[in-house]
C-alpha cells in the first residue's frame, strides 16, 4: 500500500535558521503517529508544510500522492488544528458550525458529546477561553471533522490531566470506529505513548528516530549498580549514556537483553530498567557528547 504521507529531502530555511533539514518520512494509512521532539525541533513547521500552510524551501512533500500546497483535492481531506490556532472574533458554536461546512463527514453528535465532556460552553467567545479550553476546542474540531488525515499540534497544551485522559479515550474510541491517519506532535511523551503506533523523533530539524512504538519497548536498558560491576556488564555493548555518583554507576545500554544477560546482571547485583519512550526520546535528542560523568 502506498503511504498517505510521503516526504523526501524536505528542507525549510528561515534566513539563517534551518527549521527542517533534509527530512524524509513516510506515514502509512490508518495509523496513529507521534511526532516527538523538543521545543523548536521543527515539529510544527513539518505539520504546517504537510497542511499546506507553509511552503518548503526544497524537497518533495506528498499527501495522498500530491503536493498539498493550494491543492484542494488534498487539503479538503485534511484537518490541522494548531496549538496557537487563531480564530476570528466569534463564539465556540460559530467555530464548530463553520468547520462542519468544510467536512463532508463532520459528526455533529460527536462534537456535542466532546463539548460536554470538556465542559466547553458553545456560547462563549473564543477569545475569552482559557488556554486549556482553547486546546479543547481544537480537539473537538479535529476529531469531529473525521478527516482522512488528522493532525494535532500539541493538542493538549494547558489541558488538565482529566481532560487529557478524555482526549486519549475519545481519540482511540473514534479511531477504532473510523480509522484514519492521525499525526500528533507532543512533548508529553510517556502519557501519549500508549496511544501511539509509530514514533518519529525530530531534533533540530532532523529526524533522528523512526520506529514502531512496540519495537521501542526494551530497545535500551538502564543498568545501575556498583561501578566495577556496571563496567563489566557494559563491556562490548553500545552505551548511550553513562552517569556516575560516588561508587555507583548507571549506564544506558542499547539493544535488547536476553535471558542470559538478565541472569548475569542478577549475579552482578545490577538493576535493569527498560527505558521508557520519553527517556528514549531524550537519549535520541541529546547532543553527541553523550559521555557524562558526575562525581
Amino acid at each position: 500500500m502506498s503511504p498517505v504521507i510521503s516526504v523526501a529531502g524536505l528542507t525549510r530555511r528561515y534566513h539563517d535558521n534551518l527549521a527542517l533539514d533534509q527530512v524524509s518520512l513516510e506515514v502509512e494509512a490508518t495509523s496513529i503517529v507521534g511526532l516527538l521532539g523538543r521545543n523548536g525541533a521543527g515539529k510544527t513547521t513539518l505539520l504546517r508544510i504537510l497542511a499546506g500552510q507553509e511552503f518548503p524551501s526544497s524537497g518533495e512533500v506528498l499527501v495522498h500522492g500530491a503536493a498539498p500546497a493550494e491543492n484542494e483535492a488534498v487539503l479538503r481531506r485534511l484537518v490541522f488544528v494548531r496549538e496557537d490556532q487563531t480564530y476570528p472574533d466569534f463564539k465556540v458554536g460559530h467555530a464548530l458550525r463553520v468547520a462542519s461546512w468544510f467536512y463532508p463527514r463532520w459528526n455533529a453528535a460527536l462534537a456535542d458529546d466532546l463539548l460536554a465532556d470538556f465542559g466547553l460552553p458553545p456560547g462563549r467567545a473564543v477569545k475569552k477561553l482559557s488556554r486549556g479550553m482553547r486546546s479543547a476546542l481544537g480537539i473537538v474540531i479535529g476529531l469531529a471533522a473525521r478527516a482522512e488525515v488528522t493532525m494535532f499540534d500539541e493538542p493538549y497544551a494547558g489541558l488538565d490531566a482529566v481532560a487529557r485522559q478524555i482526549f486519549y479515550d475519545r481519540l482511540l474510541a473514534d479511531y477504532a470506529e473510523h480509522p484514519r491517519t492521525i499525526l500528533l506532535s507532543t512533548h508529553l511523551i510517556d502519557e501519549a505513548s500508549g496511544l501511539l503506533e509509530r514514533v518519529v523523533v525530530i531534533d533540530r530539524g532532523r529526524i533522528v528516530l523512526t520506529a514502531d512504538a512496540d519495537d521501542l519497548r526494551g530497545v535500551a536498558t538502564a543498568v545501575t549498580g556498583p561501578v566495577l560491576a556496571v563496567d563489566e556488564f557494559a563491556a562490548g555493548r553500545a552505551v548511550w549514556d553513562r552517569r556516575r555518583i560516588a561508587s555507583r554507576a548507571s549506564v544506558v545500554v542499547a539493544g535488547g537483553l536476553d535471558e542470559a544477560d538478565r541472569l548475569r546482571a542478577a549475579s552482578l547485583h545490577l538493576d535493569l530498567t527498560p527505558l521508557t519512550l520519553q527517556q528514549l526520546v531524550v537519549q535520541a535528542a541529546q547532543p553527541d557528547d553523550r559521555e557524562r560523568t558526575s562525581a
Partner: protein
C-alpha cells in the same frame, strides 16, 4: 464553487459586522446631518459686508457628501474580514485561492446589494427634495447624480473596489505586519508620483485634463471597474504565498 460559497458563509457567521455596521454608522452620520439641516434655515447664508450682515440666497443645494462614510467602511470591512479569518480557514483545508475568491465574491455581492439600497435612498432623497430640508446626502454632483440604475452601477463598482482594496491591505498586514502596510502605502505613493512625473515630463496636463472633463459618470465607473480588477489581481498575487 461550493467552497467559495462556504467561505462567504464563514465571513457571515457573525453577520452583523459586514451586513449591519456600514448601515448603522451611515444612519448615524445621516441623522447628525439631518438635525443640522433642520436646525439651520436653508436657502440662505449670512455674509458680512461693510453695511453689516446680509442674507444671501444660496446658489446650490446642500450637498453633504455624507454617503462617503459607507465607502470607507467597505474598505475597513474588507481589511478586517480577510486578514483575521485566514488562519482558521487554512486549518479547515481551504486553499488560499478559494479563500480569496470566496471573500471577493462576498464583497462583490455586498457591494451590489448595498449599491441598490443607496440608489433607492437617493431616489427617496430626490422625491422628498432632500428629506424636506434640501439636504443632499446620497446625491453627489457629477458622479452620483444620474438615473437610479447608473447610481446603482457606480455605487456597486466603487464599493466593490474599496472592499477589494481593503482585502489587499488585510493580506499585506497578514504577511508583513505594519511594516508591510507602510511599505505598501509608500509604494502606491511612488506609483502616483511616477505618473505625475511622466505626465509633467510629456507636458500632457492639458490632455489629461480634457480626458477627465470629457469623461462621463458611466465612463468613470468603467475606469473604477478596471482599477478594481487590477487590485483584485494584486491581492491574489499577495495571498498566493501567504503563510499562517
Amino acid at each position: 464553487m461550493k467552497t467559495w460559497r462556504d467561505v462567504a458563509r464563514y465571513h457571515l457567521v457573525v453577520p452583523w459586522a459586514p451586513l449591519l455596521i456600514p448601515w448603522a454608522i451611515l444612519s448615524g452620520s445621516f441623522l447628525v446631518n439631518l438635525v443640522i439641516f433642520a436646525l439651520s434655515p436653508y436657502g440662505h447664508h449670512t455674509v458680512m459686508t461693510s453695511h453689516g450682515p446680509v442674507s444671501v440666497q444660496d446658489a446650490t443645494h446642500g450637498y453633504t457628501g455624507g454617503v462617503a462614510t459607507i465607502y470607507i467602511l467597505f474598505l475597513i470591512i474588507g481589511l478586517s474580514l480577510v486578514g483575521r479569518s485566514l488562519p482558521f480557514a487554512l486549518s479547515l483545508g481551504v486553499s488560499r485561492r478559494s479563500y480569496y475568491a470566496g471573500s471577493a465574491a462576498l464583497g462583490a455581492a455586498l457591494a451590489v446589494a448595498d449599491g441598490l439600497v443607496l440608489a433607492g435612498l437617493q431616489a427617496i432623497e430626490r422625491a422628498t427634495d432632500g428629506w424636506g430640508v434640501r439636504m443632499f446626502f446620497f446625491r453627489v454632483p457629477y458622479i452620483l447624480a444620474g438615473p437610479w440604475y447608473l447610481t446603482w452601477l457606480t455605487s456597486s463598482v466603487a464599493l466593490a473596489l474599496l472592499f477589494i482594496y481593503g482585502m489587499w491591505f488585510g493580506i499585506i498586514h497578514r504577511r508583513w505586519n505594519l511594516f508591510g502596510v507602510a511599505a505598501f502605502v509608500i509604494a502606491q505613493l511612488a506609483v502616483v508620483l511616477a505618473v505625475v512625473l511622466l505626465v509633467a515630463g510629456a507636458d500632457a496636463w492639458s490632455s489629461v485634463g480634457s480626458f477627465f472633463t470629457g469623461l462621463t459618470a458611466a465612463g468613470l465607473t468603467g475606469l473604477l471597474a478596471v482599477l478594481a480588477v487590477l487590485l483584485l489581481a494584486g491581492g491574489h498575487a499577495t495571498i498566493r504565498r501567504a503563510t499562517v
